[in-house]
């Protein structure tokens, strides 16, 4: 299990490759790896966005993310989890968040990926401030619903 909060750009695919090569003890045990990558858009709420500043509460962020992972490990059959989240100044196309889950079967990998992302969105103390094309700045008020067709 690993949680990383990073203040410079990261490559999610490289992170997965590195992490997976470090978890040799589960080699041959996982049949499913789910990967979620959140990326910065160049638009939001009808405006063009040219940059973003991500603030966080150091310490509380890591604590809350670790608690979310612990909850997931209790609830599902999971072999390993990697969570990486950016802070600082971001630009469109920059990766914001990576959640990778390794499990024996796909059900657990898919479900835990979803669980971690939704919990992170409501509990991890990060805040986004957008810089619009017009140079105006605005705080994002709240996260939107993550279920495209409603939650069951």
């Amino acid at each position: 299990m690993e949680v990383k909060v990073v203040s410079s750009a990261f490559d999610p695919w490289q992170e997965i490759q590195q992490y997976q090569s470090s978890i040799k003890d589960i080699k041959g045990k996982y049949g499913a790896t789910s990967v979620f990558v959140g990326t910065m858009r160049d638009f939001n709420d009808g405006d063009n966005v040219k940059g973003m500043t991500l603030e966080h509460y150091p310490g509380m962020t890591e604590l809350q993310l670790s608690k979310i992972i612990t909850e997931a490990m209790k609830e599902w059959q999971v072999l390993d989890i990697l969570v990486v989240h950016r802070v600082g100044d971001l630009f469109p196309d920059d990766p914001i968040v990576l959640v990778a889950v390794w499990s024996a079967h796909r059900g657990d990998a898919f479900d835990v990926s979803r669980y971690i992302m939704e919990a992170l969105k409501s509990k991890a103390p990060f805040w986004k401030k957008e810089i619009l094309q017009t140079d105006a700045e605005r705080w994002v008020g709240e996260n939107t619903d993550g279920y495209s067709k409603g939650k069951e």
Partner: protein, 77 residues
């Protein structure tokens, strides 16, 4: 007792400061900490609170050397 108060994001900007150090003599709750630190402004409705980095209700008790934080809804991910 000594309490450290921290503010984040839009709340930090609207208050114009990121932290306060307060001294109390009586037993207090999270909302009492806000009121003493910000006597002229009511706690905005959507603000969340944490004590020592764990989410708490506004009527939770606060102890000596606790770190109390107030912040708007989180928007990571």
């Amino acid at each position: 007792m000594s309490i450290k108060v921290r503010y984040f994001a839009s709340l930090k900007e609207s208050l114009g400061r990121s932290e306060d150090e307060l001294e109390f003599v009586e037993v207090i709750t999270v909302i009492d900490v806000w009121s003493q630190a910000n006597p002229d402004s009511e706690l905005p409705a959507n603000i969340l609170a944490a004590v020592n980095m764990e989410y708490v209700a506004l009527d939770s008790l606060v102890k000596n050397n606790d770190e109390v934080a107030f912040f708007p809804p989180v928007t990571g991910g």
